[in-house]
Symmetry: C3
Subunit: 365 residues, 3 copies
């Protein structure tokens, strides 16, 4: 190919890309506009003057506009159809699906050792009602079962590999002896299909950590080989022992946008009573940032990657990058059902309603 044709071809490709983006962008607006062909005339109508509810806490719907004719009817029908899809999703929440990830893992006790056996294998996983995806899972769960131990505990983790690939376990955030770090060819051989491998160590540091595959990890973690590894500290701080203690693992791989392995409306709400404190342990096992936004109340950030922050700080939107863990405390002083979602809006809502990284914090009176 001559240089000139390379240039021409590059220009052509770039032009196509640009046009396509423009087309898609305009297309969505155009599609809407087309369905509402004569609706534009209604742009000149004035909306009904809202009657402000004097001395009342808002929320009053104004009177319907006196729109007449086909265009208003077409708009109304189109809006109703869209709203029905949105309502259906909300009403279904929390939707039942088969399988629940991140279940508390009761260890087998062998003398003074807490023993956890993890079997990695291929399963079908239901991320939202009727949507089954191929998953690689520990103990049939995505995320894998929640390991929860104490600083100083002796722990043994036995990995059984029933996958068609080699694998290995990395304990992300734990400051282990090098030979327990789980990186094939650096700290151990890969664990071949059909093999088992045993890790054993004294838990050196507290906090919200993770375990996940560290072999062909872009694929293996993306398919579900991950879980929470929570270490309670010897010395409790004022933030330990909240009324509610939740893990929220964010993911965005082959299974779509998920919280603890499920997409809205199959995500599980966080529930607390008015006045209680909730501790949320955010963990990102995906490939993208996810700024999680809580409505109605703020979050106080107390630890980062398991380490107490020098001075807790407040926010309502917390950006969580892949590999990071952040613990926050929410003082539930505002009753109601509060949306709680990633604020990259295309991770949370489409024209068909909310999906993916959406859940709710329910504060009960």
């Amino acid at each position: 190919m001559s240089d000139t044709s390379v240039i021409d071809r590059a220009a052509e490709i770039l032009e196509k890309q640009t046009s396509r983006r423009r087309f898609l962008r305009d297309g969505s607006v155009a599609a809407l506009a087309a369905g509402l062909a004569t609706a534009c005339k209604s742009d000149t109508k004035s909306a009904s003057a809202a009657q402000a509810p004097q001395g009342q806490t808002g929320g009053t719907m104004g009177a319907h506009d006196t729109m007449a004719g086909n265009s208003a009817a077409a708009i109304a029908a189109s809006a109703d159809a869209m709203d029905a899809m949105h309502e259906k999703g909300v009403k279904a929440f929390p939707a039942k699906t088969t399988g629940k990830g991140n279940q508390l893992f009761a260890p087998r006790i062998d003398k003074d050792v807490k023993v956890f056996e993890l079997t990695a294998k291929k399963i079908k996983w239901e991320t939202e009602p009727g949507k089954f995806v191929d998953a690689w899972a520990y103990n049939d769960q995505v995320p894998g079962p929640q390991i929860r131990v104490k600083e100083g505990d002796r722990v043994r983790v036995i990995l059984h590999n029933q996958l068609p690939e080699s694998t290995a376990l990395h304990f992300h955030g734990l400051e282990l002896p090098n030979d327990q770090d789980g990186v094939p060819f650096i700290t151990q051989p890969p664990v071949k299909p059909g093999q088992s491998y045993t890790y054993e160590f004294t838990v050196p540091n507290s906090g919200s950590h993770m375990y996940h595959s560290h072999h062909n990890a872009a694929k293996q973690v993306g398919l579900g080989l991950l879980g929470a590894f929570i270490v309670e500290p010897k010395q409790k701080s004022q933030y330990d022992g909240p009324d509610v203690d939740e893990v929220m693992i964010l993911n965005d791989g082959a299974h779509g946008y998920t919280l603890n392995g499920k997409g809205f409306p199959a995500t599980q709400p966080l529930v607390a009573k008015l006045g209680q404190t909730v501790r949320i342990r955010f963990m990102n096992e995906g490939m993208m940032i996810h700024p999680m936004h809580l409505h109605g109340m703020h979050m106080t950030v107390v630890t980062r990657d398991g380490w107490p922050v020098p001075a807790p700080w407040k926010c309502d939107t917390l950006n969580i990058a892949p590999g990071e863990r952040w613990d926050v405390i929410v003082r539930c002083n505002n009753p109601g059902t509060w949306a709680f979602h990633c604020h990259i809006l295309p991770h949370a809502e489409s024209e068909h309603g909310m999906f993916g990284m959406v859940t709710a914090l329910v504060v009960q009176k």
Copy 2:
């Protein structure tokens, strides 16, 4: 399709994608190289030795190299052509466009209530000279008009929906009673086309907040249904009452990369006098992070999502994720016109010059 053909096809697609990326990447270099066909010979030339200006504050241009022949001329012509485009953009700044977003919204006073009426409708919006996009806007502005009230104020916001879709208003960052939270089917019904809806509340917490649609929001916010909601605190801190107080809303949706609804060179500069303090309230209403970089002076971060940080900290590049708000103080002790831009460079500059998320802080002597 047989398993084998699936594999072949997947390999083919992956190969195409890779080749295409490679092609595009190499293409841009090739295009350049081709235009300069014989120019490569000049690689062997040595640049003119620069005469360092003794005892002088730099900035002296060295002598032109003694390049001769077509290749040098071709390079010079190509460089001049590119530079002319870059210069044109800078010289046009701040370029005039129709429409200005984020204008301070003077409320109507109804007894002791500050009343703001927002009409959502479709408009054409000029993001840079001659570039008109389809927008969904509040009161014909993108971002919508700036609401600025005080902590403890009684506020009524009346939303008139003249859009062809239902919508709703969420007050992002305000800790309101649940029924004022603006999430259809969770805290209220959707506001149908032609309808109005009234929110009313006592402003509970201070800081830099936002209002935006929370219905079909990936689309509606992307098209412009957003604005700043600033709450001045009852108790002023040392950072309140700066000489200049600016809002900078970042967006990256259907309208391209914008600051307060405009792309460079139609963005507006921030202007201060030497010695003054500027408070910048960053807000991200887009889908991507934007690390904003200020030249010449650092920023001191004082609040996060409206909450004072435990200890202010300094930076020159502040990463702002979707949904986050950050307030910074700049002490304008360095005179001049300072570039101020997103440091994801493809959000700020192309071969045609600077565009998108670029503005300037002008410190006048």
Copy 3:
């Protein structure tokens, strides 16, 4: 094109995109599954019961499973083939390549001025063994040579432009007089091909900074026109004078995912002795965030963009956005070779093994 066809076409494109994504996603799993056609039967096998090593620090490989027949053999062969690729990469680390970036730049002394001459030109750069890319480089290095001076030093930087485009130098993070800021048409004319340009200033602030092109920068910086500009402070803090002081420049442009201009296995390890402290100066010159994760030990964050943080804080995964610089201290109290990589896993590992943004911290006994 009629409105109707626009709608149809948009729907078609969206459908194709979705199908393609689905196809690619399923494809990778399908490809694997197909190669292992009869392997699925082995899902019913039970893995060998691991014999937990009593009183021993883990790491024992369990017995091979008693898989029999073609399927187990096929799985084993496939796993072995993949593992061999992974092993090859690790064993090659640190792989030799031609060219080394970020070399300490010894200035020429002209009276009391430290003079650095930078020549920008096109080169071929080897990012990993055998992979040569087109680069635009300062002094034949990517990143350019490391400038290291002291707060208050008088510095002269002479830029020689041997590129086929105009260029200019911006000192990112230094609070210079406006005419030394390096932004064409705002603070200086562009430096044309064949020209030289001299910057001269007294270094105003300490910390980890950068120099890079600020003209057509998305392309020029992407191709390699960047380097570290380290300023040692007049007043040393407890974090200055570590045993090992390293710069790690992250990039993700035309050269792929790189650390100091090289991709794994050609990246260079950080090496320290047990008990030593390492200071790492992270700098992001790319277009994406990179959350860098260190195994085995935590990092203490001490400065941000060259400014001391109010209170150092700890983490094991540090998210670094474009334009940001973060200095961290690692106390090397855990011997071994520790993986150190971007935790956006597709930036660090593929089915062919680790690549890109991967290196190691080696703590020697």
